[in-house]
Symmetry: C2
Subunit: 634 residues, 2 copies
């Protein structure tokens, strides 16, 4: 009962923190992240790719979801008993039709934005008000986080299916994967690295072999086998709602379609043609795989088992637990991890784009040592790790939150494209506008279906989070705009001016550090006051005598405080000075000494009062604070 009183992840965090405390942070960072890179190395990184190579790289996100999409759909039907297993066929067919429509719509997007343009760019260019583009951005951001959480969880679930013994560590392993992907991305391994093409190819080939093996089996043993559930039985408790729920879960297989349209420029010339070829091939591959996979699942009557994925079960039926089963397992795992990995390029790029428009904190625009937007990556990793922890890495628990965001973003992008064709015209503009308008209507419908059918299961989280993010983004922009107004100065009329300053040196006795601080103050100011705050009369008297003995280098003011606090009397003193000077003086300059110990453990031996005082004054008063460091030699 008490054996696992602290989550393993916490142990790892503790170890990391201890490492950071003891080891030079720069070295750890260099070891994990690599040497810093120059800004100009950025453009040297991208190589143009032949479309057949770009295809597997850009399709990881979409194609990998065949590993969990159909299963997510079937899971919704479990409660109706085995007799409705056949419904996987019409649902998968509907999913594939939707896939086809989306592919056509996205080809329109590629034609419109040959330099790459995600939902956010399209919306921003085609709507005057920022609301629509922010809805697209928030929806995409939510979905990127969910893609990482779902892909990693599904990847680990593939491993758990093959090795049930690691089932206990599902959550921890998933979080480790996220941390691992984060580190890899902080190092700057980009999405377009051709090295990722091969495992993706491998997975695609595995799936094709699986499907061929299935048909081979069916040619030998019949297309209706003893375990095949009856076709067409309609149980009384089968409602439209349940079918729609199953359909919307199955549509989680469609996430990731936008990847190619964001990455048009990486295709070898002519990029648009390459991208369209890739889109068509990817659509055909995914469609064939989905239908073949669903059909074999139906024929073999594979049940839902939370501890063994349907893909793993089907592979076992055809190939047993031999080498090929292992290849399928590991390539599933790898493609899902690569899908999560590709999100680590998309999310930070989008946040940087939105931050550049002033809707997100500017720190998301800073390129890290390895030229990636490190802050965005860290945010993505943290959020998805939290989701994994909260949902115990259960893919089926995460699916209801998924897809709604993608389809919301799809809808905004399609409406934007329609508006664009109506405005820009160009060849065949009526056809293009029609395609995108139909796309918009369908994705909007799907989105509404999702929101309604999945509301209770978790979609409400997204429906709350989405407007909150939009609202927060507007507030951020408003803040930045106001700050910009506040900070703007007229270069012609406003110039630096000298002020009269009063300098207050807070002292705790007479010693080398105080000598230092007063020397510093007197090097700068005419008016220097030393301030001593004592907790009893005795210490104050002693201080006064010592000060005289020291020839009183500057006026000394003593304050007695019976509450043993420095902050309160210091603050009152500054209030008094402000009044005594005849209203607020130009500048009050507080000078504090701070011990800088030689070794880290010595920090515990010196009160860091000056830090507290500094923080308090910054928050509450308009006082300039100078810290004079004193480096302890021992």
């Amino acid at each position: 009962m008490h054996s696992s009183w602290i989550h393993p992840v916490l142990y790892v965090l503790a170890v990391i923190m201890i490492l950071f405390a003891f080891i030079n942070f720069e070295h750890v960072k260099k070891f994990l992240i690599g040497r810093p890179m120059r800004t100009k190395e950025l453009h040297a990184k991208h190589n143009k790719l032949f479309w057949l190579i770009a295809l597997p790289i850009l399709s990881a996100d979409l194609y990998s979801s065949v590993a969990y999409g159909p299963e997510a759909g079937v899971t919704e039907l479990v409660s109706l008993g085995p007799s409705v297993k056949w419904i996987i066929l019409p649902i998968t067919a509907a999913t594939v039709i939707l896939l086809g429509m989306l592919i056509v719509s996205y080809i329109m997007g590629v034609l419109a934005y040959p330099n790459g343009g995600g939902g956010y760019t399209i919306a921003r260019e085609n709507f005057k008000k920022p609301w629509m583009s922010l809805i697209a951005a928030s929806a995409l951001l939510i979905d990127y986080v969910l893609t990482v959480a779902v892909s990693v969880s599904a990847g680990i679930q593939a491993i758990v299916s093959a090795y049930p013994i690691v089932g206990h560590y599902q959550t921890s392993l998933s979080v480790f994967c996220v941390i691992f992907i984060l580190i890899v991305n902080l190092r700057g391994l980009s999405e377009s690295a051709t090295i990722f093409a091969w495992p993706n190819f491998l997975f695609i080939i595995c799936m094709i072999i699986l499907i061929i093996a299935g048909f081979n089996d069916e040619f030998q043993h019949g297309f209706i086998q003893s375990m095949t559930p009856p076709l067409g039985t309609v149980p009384t408790n089968l409602t439209i709602l349940i079918i729609l729920k199953a359909f919307s879960s199955a549509c989680s297989a469609l996430t990731g379609i936008e990847t190619i349209s964001n990455a048009v420029p990486i295709f070898r010339d002519p990029p648009v043609k390459g991208a369209i070829k890739a889109y068509i091939t990817m659509g055909l591959l995914t469609g064939v795989t989905l239908i073949g996979f669903a059909y074999h699942l139906y024929v073999k009557g594979i049940p839902v088992d939370p501890n063994n994925t349907m893909l793993s079960q089907l592979a076992t039926v055809y190939f047993g637990h031999g080498l090929f089963y292992q290849i399928i397992t590991w390539s599933t795992f790898i493609i899902l991890i690569i899908a999560a990995n590709s999100t680590f390029t998309g999310f930070p790029q989008l946040t940087a784009l939105v931050a550049a428009d002033g809707f997100l904190p500017r720190s998301l625009m800073i390129r890290g040592d390895r030229l990636g937007y490190s802050n965005g990556m860290i945010v993505l990793a943290a959020l998805s790790a939290l989701l994994i922890l909260a949902f115990h890495a259960q893919t089926n628990a995460l699916i209801p939150l998924f897809a709604i965001g993608v389809f919301a973003a799809f809808t905004v992008a399609q409406i934007g494209l329609t508006r664009r064709w109506l405005k820009v015209k160009g060849s065949l503009w009526q056809l293009k506008a029609l395609i995108n308008a139909i796309g918009a209507v369908i994705t909007a419908l799907v989105c509404v279906v999702f929101a309604i059918t999945k509301f209770k299961d978790g979609a409400w989280v997204v429906l709350i989070a989405l407007p909150l993010i939009v609202f927060a983004a507007m507030a951020v922009r408003k803040h930045y705009d106001r700050i910009a107004d506040e900070l703007r100065i007229d270069l012609k009329t406003m110039h630096p001016q000298k002020h009269r300053m009063l300098s207050v040196v807070l002292i705790s006795g007479i010693h080398r550090v105080v000598l230092n601080s007063i020397s510093f103050a007197q090097s700068m100011h005419e008016e220097v006051i030393a301030l001593y705050i004592g907790f009893d009369d005795e210490s104050i008297e002693k201080m006064k005598m010592k000060w005289e003995e020291w020839d009183s280098p500057c006026p000394l003011i003593t304050i007695k405080n019976e509450y043993r606090s420095l902050l309160q009397p210091l603050s009152s003193f500054i209030n008094i000075v402000e009044v005594a000077e005849g209203g607020k003086p130009d500048h009050i300059h507080l000078i504090l000494a701070q011990f800088i110990p030689n070794k880290w453990w010595q920090y515990a031996l010196h009160n860091q009062t000056s830090l507290l005082i500094r923080a308090w004054f910054f928050k509450n008063k308009d006082v300039i604070v100078t810290t004079v460091p004193y480096h302890l030699h021992n």
Copy 2:
């Protein structure tokens, strides 16, 4: 399996952190801790107490341990089977004899130090080298922490025995108790509050009634009953080692004897007489209770049950689960909590004492708002909560770590007292010296027995921790001594001197904040340089042009950094200046601007680069850093 993925304690911590983030910290603090108190209120707090009132207050720690001491002894014998249950009788007898000797020794301590003197004071006054007193101090500090952990765990175990349903939350409840006691103590409810006398009286009365009920039962049903185990059987696997182990566990009932000797001044005049009366009464009460309790346990053949304390089982036998059982349960709980609570006075007083001698961080000497040594209290609470977490609030797992420290401290104190009598002499000094010498020998023996028999079970932790603490204390003292030497100045010859200073203002553009900072710099210095670090040629050219447009208020230096870092070029620049000035100049003064947002969430929108730069320079360079705050209005 995954249902409790995060420990409940973490939730509470999260809630507290969120509260602190959103609510004004001062208000929370005032609500939890109370208004600040003046230093002079300190002495008004202590009222002199009549010894009969002081007795229950000061005996909580010792007397409460009857609730777990005998059980801890018997637990060691469980593996030998039920036939050796009778050994509880000789072991308890030995414990009570040891108790008597310690009481007599401690009365000698009271006579020697009528102003109160714990093991540390006694050792410090009677040994020249600090080693012995530090051993006493470390041993006591370790034991204070263990007292809190054991008392709270035992208190919760009493509740769990009565209400098994809360058994799952044993650890969490124990940690909550520690936090609760901490808050109460931060408020400043002192150990000597007479309010604590009554629940302790109640527990003493409960125990006496329990013992009388036992004898009543035995008069009616015989002193040997059907369930009474046979007396004197010696199983072949009974070794001296096991008996010594049981004895040393049972001795955990003797912790807390030192409390009265530390608190002599709170007795009403004459204090020494009152303290001695209290010692004798407390010794008699504890001895009678231990023997009576052990005898009844033997007669009724009560077995060890980790989910039901022996006290709870015995009370059930006599009184069923009615009202009186409830009273026993809750008074046991309360006295154990009060025992833990009294430690919150002892530990911080001892750490303050040791810190005043320079062996512990000085922050332990600071009295908090409510006049208690808050930092010591927080350290005690944190350490004991960690112990409770690590040992899952299992009293029997904590016992092996216990008592060794107490007896080590006892030994040092007894040797110190012996030395004192030999030196000071006085009336009956030979007798007193003899008593303390015998006490020293016996406690030393007990200590060695503990260390050997309990080594494997956890005593090794203490045997490692104790010398480590002593070593750390010596290192702390050495550090403070060296610092004092380093800081000392000659008031006659060393006076503040004016230096030549170079002031560097780091700017990010031309706006109101920069105007502010340059105004400040020019108000103080003749030599001001503005430094701009750009990441590309374009921004640097733009900056130079704007600067000229602004009539160049001071020289501008621009640096291009392709690694998008401010720290590294800034640091190189300062290195260059240091060399260019012909060796190290007197002072380099770095001026940084810092945005102070209006609302807490706005901090996320502004890079806190100046904090990072400041921290880095303090650690690595001898540069004075001034932060010019800019309070954002929006």
